[in-house]
Assembly symmetry: C2
Homo-oligomer: 498 residues x 2
Amino acid sequence: MIPSNTSASTGLGDSMTGTAPVAAGRTDRVELANRVVNELGSELTPGAVSVEPGVVAGHAADQAPFGAVGAAVALVRARTVQDVQATLRFASRLGVPVVPQGTRTGISGGANAVDGCILLSVERMDSILEINTGEQTVTVEPGVINQTLKEALVPHGLAYPPDPGSVAICSIGGNVATNAGGLCCVKYGVTRDYVRELKVVLADGTLTRLGHRTAKGVAGLDLAGLFVGSEGTLGVVVEVTLRLVPLLPPPLTAVAAFATERAAASAVAAFMATGARPSMLESLDRHAIALLNEFGDFGLDAEAGALLMMQSNGDGHREAAEQEVAAFAATAEHHGALDVAFSTDPEDSDALVATRRMAQPAFERHAQAHGGGQLLDDVCLPRMALPEFYDRLETIRARTGLMIAVVAHAGDGNVHPSVFFDAQDPESTRQAHEAFEEIMDIGLQLGGTITGEHGVGSLKRAWLPRELDEGSRRLHRSIKDAVDPRGILNPGKQLAEL
Amino acid sequence: MIPSNTSASTGLGDSMTGTAPVAAGRTDRVELANRVVNELGSELTPGAVSVEPGVVAGHAADQAPFGAVGAAVALVRARTVQDVQATLRFASRLGVPVVPQGTRTGISGGANAVDGCILLSVERMDSILEINTGEQTVTVEPGVINQTLKEALVPHGLAYPPDPGSVAICSIGGNVATNAGGLCCVKYGVTRDYVRELKVVLADGTLTRLGHRTAKGVAGLDLAGLFVGSEGTLGVVVEVTLRLVPLLPPPLTAVAAFATERAAASAVAAFMATGARPSMLESLDRHAIALLNEFGDFGLDAEAGALLMMQSNGDGHREAAEQEVAAFAATAEHHGALDVAFSTDPEDSDALVATRRMAQPAFERHAQAHGGGQLLDDVCLPRMALPEFYDRLETIRARTGLMIAVVAHAGDGNVHPSVFFDAQDPESTRQAHEAFEEIMDIGLQLGGTITGEHGVGSLKRAWLPRELDEGSRRLHRSIKDAVDPRGILNPGKQLAEL
C-alpha cells in the first residue's frame, strides 16, 4: 500500500528534503545567501530580501501535516512584477531552485521549501487592479486574499464564487496555482472556470500574457489553463483576470439526517443524477457530527449517522429554489432520511455554512487532544460510487481501529476523510499513513482521482504516477522540461516522481 | 496590413502548400504511397487506406474559403484506436506529416492537406460508447456528429449544449480540436467547458488518457484542456468523455429592432453588464437582414438597421425567463429599440433559431450571384467595445465600397463579419483580404482576439504571432516541440509561424 520512495511513509514532522537541482552544502549556502543579498537584492524593491534564518524558516512550510520541508537560503517578498522577474533571472542564471508562495495555506506541501531554494512570496502583491463591471471581470495581483476580493465585489453587485476552506486567508495566486475549489463548486465550478487571462513570469524571468480577456477565444493553445493547477512548477503568476457572476442571492437551506453514510450517499447520487444544481451539497459522517458536537453547540442531530447540508439559490428565483429544495427533500426521504429540516432564513443559512466550516477546527481540536495526528485526505469520485466508498472506509476503520471522520463536497463526489492518530506512537502513525494511502487507492479503484482540489504538492507526489498512464507521465515530463529547462521551479513537488 | 509570408494574401482557390517536414517529390510520393498501402495497410482495418488520387484529393480540404491546400499521398479512414496508433507509428518512423480530420466542416483550413501528408480521418469512428445518466456524462468516439449526439441524449432528458453553425454535420472530435462554440455559449460555454476526459494518440502512436471523469480533479497538469483547441497539432483525439446538462427547457423569445448597429451593440453591452444569462443573444446587421430577406421570407423587419435575437430559458422556470425577457426589452428600449416583439411559442423560437442559422446559406447564395467571394471572419471583443467595432467596420465599408455583413454571437462579443467580393477581380479580391485582416487588427486594438471560435488553422496562422507576445510564442513552440518532436502533426497550421 505504501509506494516506495515516498515522503508519506516517513512520518509527521519529518524534515526530509525534496529533490533540488542544486545540492547546497553549508559553504555554498552562505555564498548563495551573500549573492542573493548583494546581487539580487540590489535589483529588488528595498527590503524585499531576507536571509535571516528565523524569518526564512518561518516561511518554509505551508499547512501540510507532513511531507518534505527543506532549508531555504532566502526569502524574497516581491512587491512588483519586476521583483519576480529579477528573482527568476537570478535563480535561472545560478540554477537555484525557486519555491513560489502565496499565503501558504495549502495543505499538500506545494509551498514547502526545498534545500538551497529561494522562497518567492507574492503575498505582498495584493492590489485589486481593476473591477470591470461592464465586462464583469476583475484583475488582481496574486496576493489578494479570496475573501477580500469577495468583499470588494459586493458593492458592485458581483461575486467570485470559488470558496476553498481557507477562503478567509488564502490568496488568489495560490487558488490559481492549485485550481482551488470549495463549497460552491457543485454549482459554480472551480478556479479554472473563472480564469480568463494570466500574466506569468517564466523560469528565465520572461513576462508573458496567457489566455484572453474576452468571453471566448481560441487563438493558440490554452496555456492559461495549463498554468492553472500547475502548483508553481511552470511559472509564477503575477496577475490574474477573472470572470465574475452577479452577486449570489441568499439560498434556501435544507438539512437531512440519515441513519447511515451509505443512505446519505445514495441520496446525493440520486439527487445529482436528476441534473439538480444546488449551490451547496455537503455531507458529514457520524464521526464528523460527533467531533463538531464536542467542539460547540451547532444543534447537530447527535443520533444521525450522516447529515446532508443542502442549499439552493434558484439563481435568484425563490420559486426555483423552493422547487429544488422540495425535490431534494423528496429524494432524501426516498433514500430513508430520518428527518429533513428547512429554513428560509438567511441567518440560518449563514450559520449552517459556518458550522460546516467549523469541521476542520473541530478536527484539529480533537487531534490535539488525542496525540496530535490528523491526515486530511481529498479524493474525488464518480458520485454513483459514493456509497461503495463509505463501505470501504468502514472496512479500514474495522481493520485498524483508527477514527476516520469524513466531510465531503458530496455533490461533486469530493470526499475529505480525516484519519486521526497518535503522532507519538510509531505504529499508530504508520497505520494512519497507510490508511491515508489506501483511501487514494480506493479512489482510483472506483474510477476517481487522488486529489479533487487540494493538489499533489509534496504530499501525493509519489501517488501521481499511479493515476497517470505512461503516455501522460511522459507528456508531463516533456512539457515541464520544455517550459522550465533548468528545473528550477518548485522541484521535488507535483511532477517530481513522474 | 497584410503580414508577409501569409497564404491569406495569395487569393482564393490558391493551392500553395503548407510547410511540411518532408518535401516529397514525385518519385518519393509514389514510393511513400506504396509503403502506405503495403506496410501500413497491412496493420489497419481492411479498406482503411486509399491512395486513389481522386479519393485523396476529395478529402484534401475543409470548408475554408482560401488558404493552403497541399497534395496528400494517402487517406486513412480509421475505424479503431489501433488504426490511429498504427498510422502515427508509421508516420513517425518515416517522418511523414499527418493531418487529422473529422468531418472537415471547419472554415480555417485546419484540416487541409499539406504536401506529402497522410490524411487521417476519424469520421468513421462514430459510436456513442456510453451514456451515463447517473454521472450525467457521455463517452463518444470522435466521429460522432454533434447533432446525432444531441438527439441520442433527448430520451435520457440530457443535453450537450455546444452548437456551432455546423452542428448538423460537424464531429465531436473536430469540436474538441477547435474548442467549438455556437449560439449557446453566452449561457452554456464552449466545448472546453464540457470535456472531462480525452483519450489521445500521440505522435509516436502512444495511447494516453488525459483529464478525469469526476466532477473535479487536480492530479497533474490540465493536459486534457491543453489538447482542446490544439487543432490536431499535439495528437489525435480518439475518445471523448463530456459532462452533460439536463435537457434545456424551451425558451421565451424576443426580437428587438434598432435603427443602427451601434444602438443594438450598446444594448447588448448594457444588458450583459447586468449579469444576464440569456440562452441566446445574437445580432444581425442591416446587410445580414437584407441578405436573409433576399434568401427567403423570414419575416425580418426590412427597415431595421440591426436586429437582436434573444432567448431566455430561465433554467426551466417560466417566471425567471419572463423576467429576463422583460429586462432585455427594457434595456433595448432604453437604447432606442424601434420595436421589441415577443413570443412564448416554442415553434416561433425554433423558427427564429432556424432563421439565424440560414444566414450563412443566404450569404453563400449572395456570394455566388456576385462573383463568388465571401470571407467569413471571427473576432471576439470585450462586449463594451462592440459599438466601437461597428463604427470602425463602417469606415472599412466607406473606404473600400465592399459589402460586409455581420452576424454575431453578440452576448459573447463574438462577431462574424463576412466580406463579399468578386473572386474573378484581383483588385476586389485584394481589397477583401485586406479588409479581412483589418478586421482582426481592429479586434486586437480593441482588446479582443483574432479568433473567438473558428480557430487559427492555415487561414490565420500569420496573425497568431501578432496576438501572442514573445514569451507566449516561445512557450507554444517549446511545448509543440516537446509533444511532437518530429513535427509530423498538422504542420503548416496553427503553430507554424510562431
